[in-house]
Symmetry: C2
Subunit: 334 residues, 2 copies
């Protein structure tokens, strides 16, 4: 492996001239620059990142804790990671993956990675209600940005990027309304979920705006499974009232709705319009395809990296992005 010194010797300049050629090329005379660049090329020189990091005390690495998977089926995590990686690379950075216990118990791991200078900062996700990580990191002065707000907190400890779940639900409602649906139900989660309350709120507001009924049209599922989605749908239909639209809080619940409708001889998309959330790989692969709200992953990732690596001059940055409605057969005009 060639070093700066060897390149310098080959180009007959000093080491810092080579360093400047790399980091501040405008400081060199054109002919010197070209000569140095030729030597770099010829010797196939690549700067040693560890030496650089030691000197500058910046590693250009961003820590991300891989969620432990038994917790929750995170069907879009690979999309998120890919987008995050790509966004980081556009700024010359990379993602360092690590595992840590949940909640505040994981904080020593974060602290350690930062103290050893293995990462410059962190991207958080899987934010929970009253998530303690944000406050802790802020207190330690460790740079971070969160994908997801800290729910049920009036002031957010740090910068975040999130997707507007309420706006998403409202988009789904309006879409179903436009295809003629007038009794649109909501399949949700327990009230303890901040994300769940955000999404159900959007559904309720949109229905009221459009003069649609909401009473008796919400079912809260205990867990995020196809089975629960089907059961909830059955409960709705058994209540005797007509339902011609279902906005589900997740693709998984929506899949349950599709199954129950089919089982009863109803045609999803024709008799009842159904929408899901997150546009997971499943949405495309079922039949009829599931209309779903796509999280703008590339934009999310871009914003996260920009905020984390940008000059944090002043107050925390907060970015609420709109999801995109991807229309498929499950909500075809009735």
């Amino acid at each position: 492996m060639a070093t700066l010194k060897q390149v310098a010797a080959h180009a007959e300049v000093s080491v810092q001239t080579v360093s400047n050629a790399l980091n501040a090329p405008h400081r060199l005379r054109a002919d010197t620059l070209e000569r140095v660049n030729r030597s770099i090329e010829l010797l196939n020189y690549r700067p040693n990142r560890n030496a650089r990091s030691l000197r500058t005390s910046a590693v250009e690495l961003i820590g991300y804790c891989v969620p432990s998977w038994p917790n929750q089926t995170h069907l879009v995590m690979d999309q998120f990671l890919h987008a995050l990686c790509a966004a980081a690379e556009r700024t010359g950075r990379h993602i360092l993956l690590f595992t840590a216990p949940g909640g505040v118990d994981g904080m020593p791991t974060y602290d350690d990675l930062h103290a050893r200078r293995m990462v410059d900062g962190f991207v958080l996700s899987q934010t929970e209600t009253h998530d303690p990580r944000h406050g802790w990191l802020k207190e330690q002065g460790i740079p971070f940005v969160s994908f997801g707000r800290v729910w049920k907190e009036t002031t957010q400890p740090g910068p975040w990027v999130d997707v507007d779940g309420a706006a998403g639900s409202a988009m789904a409602v309006r879409h179903l309304y436009e295809s003629g649906r007038r009794r649109i139900a909501f399949l949700g989660w327990p009230k303890s979920s901040g994300l769940g309350e955000d999404r159900v709120g959007g559904w309720r507001d949109a229905c009221k705006d459009l003069g649609l009924p909401t009473t008796g049209l919400t079912v809260r599922c205990r867990e995020d499974s196809i089975e629960e989605g089907a059961r909830a749908t059955a409960r709705l239909l058994d209540a005797g009232r007509t339902v011609d639209g279902i906005v589900a809080l997740s693709d998984i619940l929506a899949l349950g709705a599709l199954r129950e409708l089919t089982r009863r001889g109803l045609t999803p998309g024709h008799d009842v319009g159904v929408t899901g959330f997150d546009d997971s790989p499943l949405a495309e692969v079922v039949s009829p395809g599931l209309t779903s709200l796509r999280q703008p992953m590339d934009q999310i990732a871009e914003e996260l990296i920009t905020i984390l690596t940008g000059s944090s001059n002043g107050s925390p940055v907060e970015r609420l992005l709109r999801p995109e409605l991807v229309i498929r057969g499950s909500s075809a005009p009735g």
Copy 2:
């Protein structure tokens, strides 16, 4: 941030005694060690990893290229990443994520990361037929290990860990046989897929061993979707012959089989036993639950890290692991 020097001053020893306390504690007298450790604790000292890496030229970081997701729905990637991370951490290492173009076009990216000393080596996955990456990395002398063999190659360029797909299919066949099934079909992929041929081979061999028929019982699906799985199942059933068991090459195809069976008024598990592959989150979440072959992720990750970081003394290491049959309702005794 405290440095070695400060700890040394505090403990009234030299810096290399502190270094030894950390890296070769047996060299210190017990009382010196304790004194040094107290200072380390007190000053909350954490060694700077970049300084260490510069000196030892080992970064304790393993590169993994995040697959670009439109390619293939990789439903168990988060499980894999979590297991890989955990295994790496058990040896004091971490995973560095990056993106790269597919095939040989991505090789400069690998080379660059290694040349800049940002990673010590790579874990590869998503191996393809005649995958050029293995040969390239080996030629450059860049350490790597592959999750997945290079298909249709007589000699493997480097070390690998893989799951025995043939054995998996055979396990599924025998399981269905034991619950009374006698006409067991296989839903597969095109012949161009090495992984597909591995799995269909295991099905064929097991059927022959058990004296079961195989002719007319294989359907090759063009893509890995629920729709294709359902269509293939329809073709099988329309052929007029009885089918009482279906071994599907993937969970997605198996889901298609379940749907088509249900559509025809057949009860999966009761009338026809169905199995999938990979035990993705879906398997647990559908109803009836899908019997599937779980890849032993923790063991896979452990072996990958051991091979990559171990002394590669001599010939490439090859490890073929058995999947585990997770039995659920879709294959309940008929």
